[in-house]
Every structure is written in C-alpha cells, then in structure tokens.
Amino acid sequence: MFGYYLDLAVRSLRRSKVLTALMVLAVALGIGACMTTLTVLHVLSGDPLPGRSGSLYFPQLDPRDTVGYVPGIEPPEQLTWIDGMNLLRAKRATHQALMTGGMVPLQPAQTNLDPFHANGRYTTADFFPMFGVPFHYGSGWSSAEDDSKARVVVISTALNDKLFGGQNSVGKTLRLQEADFRVIGVLGDWRPDPHFYDLNMGAYADYEEVYLPLSTSRDLHMEHDGSVDCWGDGGGEQAKLEQSTCTWMQFWVQLDTPASVADYRSFLQHYAEDQHASGRFARPPTMRLRNVPQWLEYKQVVPSDTRLQAWLAMGFLLVCLINTVGLMLAKFMRRAGELGVRRALGASRRALFGQLLLESGVVGFVGGVLGLLLALLGLWLVRQQPSDYAKLAHMDSAMLLTTFAIAVLATMLAGLLPAWRACHIAPALQLKA
C-alpha cells in the first residue's frame, strides 16, 4: 500500500511542477536557514566538559572598595592573588586550581625555528585532574612542584609536533623566558569549547601551548595577559600584582555532591564575612558560586548576534511552513474530484488522509535534502568569516538527523490541515460535478 501511495504522491506532485517546486523550495530555504543558524548556536553553546561541567564551580568574591557600590551588584569576575591563595590553601573542595594566563617567549633548540611567543597557562597542580585533561605522554605536576617553583612544563600536542616531531618529549628541555624547563607531559587531544576557565582571551580562541606552575611563572616574572581589574590604589603593574588591589586570577573548584556545594557556599560566605570584619572587604560580604553552565550563561558567551540569527531563522521557517500549508491546501482541494471518486470506490477517510500525509511527507523529504545542502553551504559561508568561532561551525551527526526529522515532521504537520480538509469532502458533491 505504501508503495502505491508513494507512486500516487509522486504522480500528483509531478502533475503541478511549479506548485511542487515552490513548496519544496520554501521548505528547503526555511530548513537551510534554520539548520545553519541552529548548528552555529549548538556548536557555540556546547558543553565544554560533558559529564564534568556540572560539578566544576567558579567562586566569586567582592573585595572592592565602596565606590560604585549598589546593593545586589555582581562581584568581579576574577579573584585577587590574596583571596585566590587563601581559598587554594583552605583546600575545602575535592580539587581546586588557581590560574591565569600569559604569552611566554619560547626559544626553540632547533636553529631553523625563530623564537616565538607561546600561549601559556600558569596554574596550580589540580588543573589536570580536575578538568580531566588527557595526556599523550607523561603527566601533570603535583603540589610539591608548585611549592618548589619547579621549572617543569606540560605542552600541547600541537607544540610537541612542532618542536619534537610528535616524539615522546618527556624529559627533554624547553627554553622559556631564558630559563630551562623540563617537559613532564604532553597533552592528548583536548579542546573544550568555549574556553570556559578563562574567557578573557576570547571564548573560542586558540588553546594554550604551554602549561607551567603558577609559582614558577611569578618567580620568573613571566608576563601576565588577560583582564586586570583594579580599584583604589591598584596600579596593575606586572611585578606587584600579588600585593595590588586588582583582580586577575581565575579559581576553579570541583564539588561533587549537593552537600559539598552547600558546605562550600557557607565556607565562602564565612570567608567574605571574616574579610569584611577584618576590614579588608569594604563592601557588605557577597559571594557567588556558579558551575560551568551557569557561568557560561551569566557571561553570555554565545554572541547575541548568533542568538538573534537563530530566532530570525526560526521565524523564517515558520513563514515558509505557513506558506507550504497554504499551497498544500490549494493543491489538495484542487484534487477534490479525484478524492471524491476514490471515496466513492470505497477508500476510507483514513486511507485518504494517510495518502495525502504521505504526499506532504515526500515534499518534506525532498525539501529536507535540499535544505541540508543549503545548510552545508551556509555553514561553509560561516566558516569563511573571520570570527574566532567560525572554524568550529561544522554539522555533527546529531544536527544532521535533527535536520531531517524537523523537515519531514514540519511538512507533515503542515500537511495535516489540508489533508483533513480534503478528506472531509462529500464524495457525492464531487461526483455530481
């Protein structure tokens, strides 16, 4: 029966080519636009660390002076060195890491490579176990290396390929900022998008190439890059950042159970109250504790233009579908005579309804295929854009299936009303004419 209905549908669609083309084109354009923007949105609002991001928290405190204070104001988006160190040493979470970033001058041993600046992350030891960073060779460092300001470095796969030809480089020496560092680990494939733990360098920017202990970076006066927010007498001078009234550190903690989150929250509140009582925090004690999804939401990481485009495309699809409903209605009603004959010959309403729905499903399928091609073209266009997230715009299998499902379902939905109307035609009336 299905084969027969399919044959009927194709015949009927071929009979009025212009109308069919118009319907298919409208569906394809709507689906194409919708899937392009939704894929970009999907990529940009993805979970950077699936399975882990829910238990990674970003504590915020407000150490600023009273200037510009209004009740309910959000605390700064980074920590001062003093608060970061205090929270780090308190060790109240499963894991905790204090970090910041900067560009590190790197002098390759090879004579054919010019010195260059490597994108660096200065962090404490827990960074690797907390974020579940995979290693190709070697491993991260421990808190002993943090304490001894050890000259050890973990490098990315890309840098390992560039400097050591992809060989196991653990134990080799790397010259950073005129000092010898021992390579102790090479990262595996690791690129959480967005770059959630430090959004200051661009949420979808390139990843770090070298990771080294925070204490070492301060010991060697390595350059700090990223946001520095100062108040009062804070000058933001590189050498004095530890003492200054500036926020410039990111601090992440891992809290596995709701109870530990509640504990940490009250710990943070008590810490803020203590600092306020001692006079270091001038403002009424406030704190925030957001996990990765909440943090990304708060920081509005997804560009608002991208969200606007997605909404626009959905509105566009809606108009295209209404258009298809109208055209489908015209098409089905025009065949009232044929449908009347089939009813008179014994076809049930249900059979007719199924046949008409199948016909709209065919339109949806063809429109979906065409829309998919348009979406691939659209994504290719997005990738030609210069923004740093552009290169991430690829369609994954989940989006591919969603595209088809949406296309076929939407057109069948659009076919419901016309099909229902068409199969309620009184056969006698049609036969008379």
């Binding site: 354009l29 009062g232 626009l312 258009n323 209605l329 015209a330 009303l417």
Partner: protein
C-alpha cells in the same frame, strides 16, 4: 466596489484566507524589525571616527628579538625617520592604538587626584607633536604638543602626563561653564593640564557597550616602548596604493629585525573600517537576504493560493460575466479581495511587529521600533499583495462568459 459579497465569499475559504493573512502578518513583523536592525547596523558602519581616514595608513610593527627600552626608543625614532623619507608620505607618528582599532587603554578622568571620583572613562591615545597633523584633527582651541613635551613609557612605567589634548565633548563634560584650556584634569595621581581641544575623535572601540563614552578621547604626549607599535602614516592625495607597498619595503630595507604581518601589517583605513564593522555588515547582509526571500515566498504563496481560487471559481466568474459584469469588475473583485485579506494581515502584523520589537528590546537591547519602519513594511506588503494577485486576477478577468454554460 461591493465589499459585502467579497466577505461572504471569503467566509467559504476560511482556511486559505486565514493562512494568507497569517503569512502576511508574520512577514510584516519579521521584515520591519529586520529593516530596523539593518538600518541601525548601517548607521554604525558609517559612524565617523573624526580622523581623515581617506589618506591614512596604519602599519603594525613588531620587533623581533628582545630589544630593551633604550634600543626600542632609537629603533622607533629611526623608523619614523625612514617613513618620513618615503616618497608620497606627508606625515607620520607612532602610537599604541587608533580609532576603529578595537583595543587600547581606557582611564578614568576626574577633577581631583582621588581616583574614586572619576567623571567618566576616556580612551587614551599615545601621541606626539605630529599626531594632530597626521590624523587631520582640527584643533579648535589651545595648542599642539611641543617636541620637548613628548615622554617615553616602557612596560613598567606609569602614565602621568603633564599636558593633555582632549576632545571637545570631553572638555564640555569636564568644564561645562568655562574653557578647559589651562585647567587640570586627573587621569593619574598627578594633574594634567589641558593645552588643546580637538573637534572630534572617537575612542578606539566600536562595540556598542563602549558607546557611552565613545566621544571622550584623550591624547597624551608619550611614545610607548613596547615590542608592538603602530605607525600612522598620512599619505599625499591619490598615492595610497603606491605608498602602501613602498613603506613595507622601506622599513625592511632599513632594518630586517621586525615582523610586519604580510596579511594585515599595512592597512588603509578603509580596510581597518571594514574589519572593525565586519560583523555588523554581515548581519545587515544576512537580514536583507532573509527579508527579500521572505517577501518573495509570501508573494509566491499569494500567487499560488489566488490561482487556485480563480481556477475553482471559473464557473461563477463566467456567470457574473454573462450577467453583465465587465472584465474590470472581475479584476477589481480579486484585487479588492486580496486588499481586504492583506489589510487584516497587516493590522495583525503591526501588533505582532510591536510585540516582537518589545521582546527583542528585552532580549537583545535593541531600541524601540521607529514607526517609519512599520509604515514602510505595511506599504511594502500591501503593494506586494496587489502585485502578486495581479497575474491570477488578470487571468480571471479573461474568463469568457460562455464558461457559465460549461459543467466543470
């Protein structure tokens, strides 16, 4: 034209009528909000920066190796000398950033050394005695920097200028009652005397979140000794393209230990502007594309449905023609019918457009929709409807009266 029979006829085509009206309403809501966004973006694209963009080049230079501060000062002086000798170069200076550069330094400006009481934030431009002439800035009051006032600032240094030049907008904000010339302002713990006021100079940022203080720029007499420096070059009229090639070659010939990106190391301000507003341009193009396609689809939908109605009513049309209706009567019947549906659509669409705008204002911090856009959208859609219905209506008007006697 008799409206009553049309309304009566429409009652028999409720579904089709409602669909067309809904489509017109949604299209109107989307298109006039899109037009509004497009216009806002286009205005941004042409926002004047205050400088003479047409005859300016910017060179991004990065020193290779690791020169110390003293070396950098002499390297920079040598570069400025080299550039000045390039044929076609009218003037040049070195700075940290430039309008549309989307990066740089911002400091609070106050009336007292108390940093906590700043009046506004100001964009800071490093400048020397050639900056005003190079950028083509008009000094409306006071004087330019003198060569002996230009200081040098390395990475560890503080910005604490003795003298500054500010924009007219900043001067008016700081000293609404009197002339700012000779008055102290504080961007550091030390007073800086305002010695000059320029007409207009936008801060380097184009993002709307910086728009509040986009006119408040301050020029400070410093050369910044950092590994990355921007040279702004003023070119003699009509020689932009030639000079673009010459300056790169001249700089490399003078000293090879540098990196000037082959891709965007030397840019004209036309390119700088294009890059600064690329996202806005992209958004405007996308919105325009979607709007045009939406209108086309809606038009096609109207053609399709009206054609069907005409086909369905051939017999009735024949009867009317046989009873004495002229071709013109039939034509105007369909035009009026469409007009009625379209008016219903645009009334609903107007409400939707305003609702959509309110939602967009909340979600995306857009402005309130100006009524002109709604009006333009309404007129466009009414005309589109009439245009789309014309072909099927003309076909209807050509139905011969004899059709009344046929049975299909």
């Amino acid at each position: 034209m008799q409206i009553k029979p049309i309304l009566a006829a429409l009652r028999h085509h409720k579904a089709g009528t409602l669909l067309i009206a809904a489509q017109i309403a949604l299209t109107l809501a989307i298109v006039c909000n899109a037009l509004f966004i497009i216009h806002a973006r286009l205005v941004r694209l042409h926002q004047p920066s205050g400088i003479d963009e047409a005859s300016l080049l910017v060179i991004g230079n990065q020193w290779a190796g690791k020169p110390g501060s003293d070396q950098m000062a002499s390297l920079m002086a040598a570069d400025l000398d080299t550039l000045r000798k390039v044929p076609g170069v009218a003037n040049v200076y070195a700075t940290n950033t430039f309008p549309l550069g989307n990066g740089g330094m911002a400091l609070g400006v106050s009336h007292s050394p108390d940093k906590l009481k700043s009046v506004t934030t100001s964009g800071i431009y490093f400048a020397d005695e050639n900056a005003l002439a190079t950028l083509g800035l008009k000094l409306v009051e006071g004087r330019n920097f003198r060569p002996d006032e230009i200081g040098q600032l390395d990475r560890q240094g503080y910005v604490k200028p003795d003298v500054v030049i500010i924009t007219r907008a900043l001067a008016a904000l700081m000293f609404p009652q009197r002339s700012a010339i000779g008055q102290p302002i504080y961007i550091s713990a030390k007073p800086s005397i305002v010695i000059g006021i320029v007409d207009e100079l936008r801060t380097p940022w184009v993002d709307t979140s910086f728009a509040k203080w986009a006119d408040y720029s301050t020029l400070i007499p410093y050369r910044e000794l950092t590994p990355i420096v921007q040279y702004i070059v003023r070119v003699q009229p009509g020689q932009l393209d030639e000079v673009m090639h010459r300056v790169r070659a001249a700089l490399y010939a003078a000293n090879r230990l540098r990196v000037i990106s082959p891709k965007d190391g030397v840019r004209s301000f036309a390119q700088v502007r294009e890059q600064a507003y690329r996202d806005d341009r992209g958004m405007a193009i996308l919105m325009s594309g979607i709007s045009v396609i939406l209108l086309l689809i809606t038009g096609a939908g109207i053609v399709g449905l009206t054609s069907f109605w005409v086909g369905q009513r051939r017999k009735q049309i024949g009867v009317r023609r046989a009873l004495g209706a002229t071709r013109h009567d039939i034509l105007s019947y369909f035009l009026t019918e469409n007009l009625l549906i379209a008016v219903g659509g645009v009334v609903l669409g107007g409400v939707l457009a305003i609702g959509l705008n309110l939602w967009l204002m909340k979600q995306f911090e857009l402005d309130r929709l100006a009524p002109g856009y709604l009006l333009a959208g309404v007129v466009t859609l009414l005309l589109l409807g009439q245009g789309a219905v014309l072909a099927p209506a003309l076909r209807a008007s050509r139905v011969p009266p004899v059709e009344a006697t046929r049975s299909i």
